[in-house]
């Protein structure tokens, strides 16, 4: 009532009396804190007073300091104060006061006090129910949606808690188990009248901050999520995967950001860009594109570094909530869609998400428009569009998918259509050496050695190579040497990489006739590729370059059926079975005719060669001059043939050496 007099009296007492023992001091300040609080909220009334105008913070501050000091001097002092706190559930009283918030600002004061305690005590007994229940009750008060203004303090509390749990992971079970959260919260709920009592676990509470406009809060939120998903406790991992909203929230946020992207994108700028959520994000200023790519980067980090079980759950949830919804309506699918899909696919490389996307690509969709079609089928269909950029993005995506060499995807796209050998004409007997090969193949296939194969190293190799080289008429050759030797080193390296990946696929070593004879169907993908090759004289040279990349890759696969079907032009094929060799023949004939109409075509070819060697497909995409395109295409095809020969050569020698060794 008379503050000034009290101050004087107190200081007089302090001067005369010796320092008060810590425990008594502690009790004194705790009681003062309570009395003060109760006086301001007489009869349980909500006070209009701001806490700064009262003595409540001063007393609580000292209570907190004594506890911290006692902990730091544990060797010399007793821990009487902390014992008293735990025994009498003082923290829980604080939690109740915070929940009721009858004095303006007391909630955040208590939150800060507990933050200081958990971050400064050497070994806070988090597992003790008096401590843990309080923390759990405070977590429930930290929902960002409810108390937006105090985001900074709230997330700081949550962040300190996560850091502490990270250092004492055995205690994390207290915050991530049904037993602990349910039972104690029921008690807490019963003891408060609050009807709006949330039941949030620590992680779900943190997840409410992902839409924050405050960069610091955003970083802390993300850091908390990363910490929690790395905890190494089986029960906690299970709880996080099954009971929290982690996976669905991250996936839905990803979808929301995806939907917010502009419909047209600057592909040139975005092609090579790799945004990092830590360095490139600013919650206040970032635009939609940055937000999306940063979030992608963040999700990939969780999938890569988080506990495997959590990664798998997150991937599965992304499949259901993001990928499966990509093709919900056909109007949505645009050029940028496919471009983004490719960016996501690349970002997911070497993570479990890669497997998820591959699985999704070959799974039938369950929606009204694309019922029973797979994303691969849809993309193949879409590639028939006349929009060059769209085609460019689709083919680019396919190139990435093929290079990823997922066994099931390769099988789904191509191999399942050709591994029955239905393209082969059995009635026509070939040359003597072909017959000999067929006999030998049967013998070799019994040996089951992946490295030995007569199919990959046929006796007629010289004829096959010569036919391919002869495809390019002499006056169409931009390089007079017309040799495939320049390509051998590159092809060899590529083939070794491919072999590394494919050895475990357990593919057959020889192409043999199957018992069943059916009509041949090359499948939608090869059909699309063949169609596009046929169309080379009339289309963009970026597409031709992409086709070249796809063909070279497919040829290099050590799969006997694919190998002989694509590369062995001496193989007798059934009627109406499309043959790559014949298609190339046709296309080159047509190109030849066109080129000869230009007076100085020799010079043009040499110029085109220079252009091609220094160009990427994205640069070629912009070329609109018909004449330039024709010459470009001719040079690309010339190189394709030489590279195919190099592939044949490398595969032959690799396999033949193995054949001779047995």
């Amino acid at each position: 009532m008379m503050p000034v007099l009290n101050t004087i009296l107190d200081s007089v007492v302090d001067t005369i009396a010796p320092p008060t023992p810590a425990f008594e001091n502690f009790i004194y300040h705790w009681e003062k804190f309570m009395v003060n609080y109760l006086e301001w909220t007489t009869d349980g009334q909500f006070s209009q007073t701001r806490i700064e105008e009262t003595n409540v913070p001063g007393h609580l501050e000292i209570v907190q300091q004594i506890l911290i000091c006692e902990d730091q001097n544990e060797k010399t002092a007793t821990n009487l104060c902390m014992e008293y706190v735990l025994k009498n559930d003082l923290f829980n009283m604080l939690a109740v006061i915070a929940e009721k918030e009858k004095l303006i600002g007391i909630r955040i004061l208590i939150l800060k006090c507990m933050t200081n305690l958990i971050s400064q005590l050497k070994n806070p007994v988090l597992a003790h129910q008096s401590f843990f229940v309080t923390i759990q009750r405070l977590i429930n008060l930290c929902d960002s949606v409810l108390y937006n203004k105090q985001q900074q303090d709230q997330i700081h509390f949550l962040y300190m808690l996560c850091t502490l749990l990270n250092n004492q992971q055995n205690v994390s079970i207290m915050f991530f188990s049904n037993e602990s959260i349910m039972s104690r919260l029921e008690e807490a709920k019963a003891s408060t009248e609050s009807s709006t009592f949330n039941r949030l676990n620590l992680l779900d509470c943190i997840l409410t901050y992902i839409n924050t406009k405050n960069t610091d809060v955003y970083y802390k939120c993300c850091d908390c999520i990363l910490l929690l998903t790395k905890f190494n406790d089986e029960n906690v991992i299970d709880y996080i995967s099954n009971e929290t909203k982690l996976c669905s929230t991250l996936s839905e946020h990803f979808r929301n950001l995806f939907c917010a992207l502009p419909t047209t994108l600057d592909y040139n700028g975005l092609e090579t860009i790799e945004l990092n959520w830590r360095d490139d994000y600013n919650a206040t200023y970032s635009n939609d594109v940055t937000k999306f790519f940063c979030w992608l980067n963040f999700i990939i980090e969780i999938i890569r570094d988080g506990q495997l079980k959590i990664s798998y759950s997150l991937c599965e949830s992304l499949r259901l909530l993001f990928f499966n919804k990509l093709f919900d309506t056909p109007e949505q699918i645009s050029c940028s869609y496919v471009f983004l899909l490719k960016k996501i696919y690349r970002a997911a490389d070497h993570t479990p998400l890669n497997y998820t996307i591959n699985y999704w690509l070959r799974s039938e969709l369950d929606n009204s428009y694309y019922d029973k079609q797979t994303p691969i089928d849809i993309l193949i269909k879409l590639s028939s569009t006349t929009d060059d950029t769209f085609v460019f993005n689709i083919l680019n995506f396919f190139i990435d998918v093929l290079h990823d060499s997922d066994k099931e995807v390769l099988d789904f796209i191509i191999l399942r259509f050709i591994n029955n050998r239905n393209y082969y004409e059995r009635c026509t007997s070939g040359t003597w050496s072909d017959e000999e090969d067929e006999r030998e193949k049967k013998l070799l296939s019994n040996g089951n050695n992946i490295n030995t194969s007569r199919t990959l190293a046929p006796s007629s190799i010289d004829r096959i190579i010569n036919r391919l080289l002869a495809l390019i008429p002499q006056n169409l050759q931009s390089d007079q040497l017309h040799t495939f030797k320049d390509h051998i080193t590159d092809v060899k390296n590529m083939y070794n990489d491919v072999l590394d990946k494919c050895t475990k696929f357990d593919w057959p070593s020889e192409a043999l006739n199957s018992v069943k004879i059916n009509d041949f169907d090359e499948g939608p993908f090869l059909r699309m590729i063949f169609k596009k090759i046929s169309n080379i004289p009339n289309q963009n040279s970026s597409t031709t370059l992409q086709l070249k990349i796809i063909l070279i890759f497919l040829s290099s696969l050590p799969h006997p059926y694919l190998h002989e079907y694509l590369l062995n032009s001496t193989l007798p094929l059934k009627r109406n079975v499309p043959s790559l060799y014949m298609i190339l023949c046709q296309v080159l004939k047509e190109l030849h005719k066109k080129i000869l109409t230009f007076p100085n075509y020799n010079e043009e070819l040499i110029q085109a060669r220079k252009r091609i060697l220094n160009s990427s497909s994205i640069k070629l995409l912009k070329e609109k001059n018909f004449e330039v395109i024709v010459f470009n295409n001719a040079v690309i095809l010339e190189e394709l043939c030489k590279e195919l020969v190099a592939v044949l050569f490398v595969k032959y020698h690799h396999t033949n050496m193995a054949n001779e060794n047995i």
């Binding site: 009532m1 101050t7 023992p21 007393h59 000292i62 004594i66 010399t76 055995n170 079970i173």
Partner: protein, 211 residues
Amino acid sequence: MSYAYLFKYIIIGDTGVGKSCLLLQFTDKRFQPVHDLTIGVEFGARLVSIETKPIKLQIWDTAGQEAFRSITRSYYRGAAGALLVYDITRRDTFNHLTTWLEDARQHSNSNMVIMLIGNKSDLEAKREVKKEEGEAFAREHGLVFMETSAKTSDNVEEAFINTAKEIYEKIQEGVFDINNEANGIKIGPQHSTGNSSIPGGNNRSNGNGCC
């Protein structure tokens, strides 16, 4: 409040064997027939007298459930005594003793005194584990053994105090290094003035206002 030594105890054993009830009986001298499952750890303290010396027992009561095992493990460190409890009416709780003992030996200091306790001795009619079996197990593993009843308080006092006596004897024999707190023993404060470095000793002036 003043004491000569402080001993840290830990109570371990399967869920539902009566660990929390033993503690409650010892610290508050009461029995609660329906007791919630312990989540994490709980805590109790009492002053006892061994050979006229006041000794404070600080007892950590742990959760028996498997999910909280990793928390329990972290409390072995720095414990001078452990009460390993089973329920004489439930054979499985006796069968699990070996696992508990392995855990205790692995995570505690080698001198920790372990008292084996067969609890619920008041439920003679439902007994599944004979007293002799408990004795044999204790003998085999070098433990002290007692049957108790947290309900009737039979032997509860003795269980805690005998463990303290054993620890006290070890101190007298010099087995325990009392200066190493990892052993779960602390020497009491010479005088009860606490620590002068604690802030607030002269801070009462902060508490002015409406008092």
